[in-house]
Symmetry: C2
Subunit: 397 residues, 2 copies
Amino acid sequence: MTYNFSDKVLALKPNAIREILKSASDPGVISLSAGNPAPDAFPVDAIREISENLLKENPIGVLQYGISDGYTPLRETLKKYLSKELDVIKENDELIIVSGAQQVMDIAAKTFLNERDTLICEAPSFVGALNTFRSYNVNLVSVTVEKDGMNMEELEEKLKANPNTKLIYTIPNFQNPSGVTMSLLKRKKLYELAKKYNVLIIEDNPYGDLRYSGEDVACIKSFDTDGIVIYSGSFSKVVAPGIRAGYMVADKAAMAKMIVCKQGQDVHTAMWSQMVCNEFMTKYDFKGHLQMLRDLYTKKANLCMDLLDEYVVPTGITYNKIEGGLFIWCTLPENVDMLAFCKALTERKVCVVPGNAFLTDSSLPCDSFRINFSTPSDEDLTNGIKIIGEVAKEFIK
Amino acid sequence: MTYNFSDKVLALKPNAIREILKSASDPGVISLSAGNPAPDAFPVDAIREISENLLKENPIGVLQYGISDGYTPLRETLKKYLSKELDVIKENDELIIVSGAQQVMDIAAKTFLNERDTLICEAPSFVGALNTFRSYNVNLVSVTVEKDGMNMEELEEKLKANPNTKLIYTIPNFQNPSGVTMSLLKRKKLYELAKKYNVLIIEDNPYGDLRYSGEDVACIKSFDTDGIVIYSGSFSKVVAPGIRAGYMVADKAAMAKMIVCKQGQDVHTAMWSQMVCNEFMTKYDFKGHLQMLRDLYTKKANLCMDLLDEYVVPTGITYNKIEGGLFIWCTLPENVDMLAFCKALTERKVCVVPGNAFLTDSSLPCDSFRINFSTPSDEDLTNGIKIIGEVAKEFIK
């Protein structure tokens, strides 16, 4: 049978990283390619206790249909928490629960983009989100990420050149994959440009709580007096990704349409996941848990950067120092074949993600690769980075 | 802020039934409008025990990212079960786990329909699925459901009249809302017509295990030698809807594209839900549980039909006798205003769903309404149907 696929999905391919992860799961392979939380990061005891209580005291609540907007107590908890901590709930805003932040990208793209409309993203950007946008046959245009975020001149040029731009997608904190945090100045400029060109912003903030050094920068949503920012939050990095729970904040009028799309996809998010998050946030030391995560990952991030400084930087590879998040972006000297380099690493049983996977057009040249330090053990991280150094010595003459 | 929505979602409205359910949840209201399983239907003790064990023995498996295709052991369990029980896994087929059967409709529509392409459904049909299709700006064309399923002459006429038809959506067993089961003869004819007109079939089978009388009829997928049937199964009615777990079976080549769409929506289905289902199917008496459900609902269905025969049929209202499922479709005599009748019921604090909600164009005239017998207590069911009889006496002169 030859299938006639819709135009939307015709060119769609599996997420390159998730394919790489399949080979990275072979025994003996040191995977620096994932984006998974460390196994130590999960509040296992708390979740076990919460789940037991929920299934004892309110099993029907866990098992029966819920409403599409999400579990009301969790929505209230998040509204309070986000108002206080991040000032991201504006007067006309609504908050709903989604089945992981990925669903925010899907729903926003579906709601605001016709096929071939333009979405502006960062170069590089999170491949999972890019693939979601691609599944709506959207024209992806990217803007270079500098050390303090998107190049704003380039952004304005691309907004001018693409009058059918509907959305700008950004990860302002500890961006995946570059590790870059956008400066306050650029956040304000981005907001101003979006307003000027009548474009909405998706602010994707899965790593915001994972800052290891430096000062917090205000969310773009916090100065959204015009209802043009769709804010996306996730429980994947701060509770657990396997529960598939996240949330979105947007102006009520925009949200009314997006809820219908959410309803069409999965009716509502799994009740167990939502109720576990609410209990954990309200009856446990959620802030203490976040501090534990920061302590855990600060150690791992510092170990990773120290190892890079010792074994990799002397070979000529550079990397962006990070203040948070889970990823470090390494760049090879010019004229080194990055894909051949990553392949040589694989032959030495070390997996990293080739940087071109994070570009809107993965056939474009790219000198960088991404490493993750949250998933591997300290031992694997040490051995992996030593091998990167050894292979780099052979490649870079 | 005035938003520019995409063409897809421009006319999209909230699911009428889920709006009705909001008012039906007021205290004192007898709701015959839901589609929820009975609270007694949930295997609460088993799920409590399974969950405790999972979070003790494999907490990281429950909490870490999974793969988009679904939890491998559950996929294997389902493949074996479905091969044996329903013969719906064909040689070139693949099975993946989804976040409730609703996601099958979303992914199939996205993968195979461009905007304004035609999807043929039944009249009446499940409003949740219709709303999902609407969210892709699809041209919905419906075919009358008779006592043994779709009118096949009308189906062929509509296939001829709409050469851009890509999908036929059917619920062959105990259809929601009509309660009708499609005959084997019509299932074969439907398959033949789909093949002749190069159209795919979505076979939505959430109620297949809930047969209370009569003989099982072979699934359409069981004679799918051409890879043209997408089969959708659900745990919502046989385990619990709040866990949002279902599955789809389709030819590998079609599935490869649909998995990418699934990945773009929510990466994967919540691990707890998937693992609970697998443990329940493999380590507990799943078939005994299904028999318990059938016993429970047989009683409720018979009570409902007996009450209708006693209090409602004498007023001139007719209904379709059912052999399974959760719904009964009642039809008023001609020249009675169905919407006014439902409104009068609401004033007497009884909620049913006006039949026009299940039509592709809800502004078309409709003499029917849907009642559900699985959710209300026997007492509420009895009082509710008595009130329907009383109101009918006033309306039908």
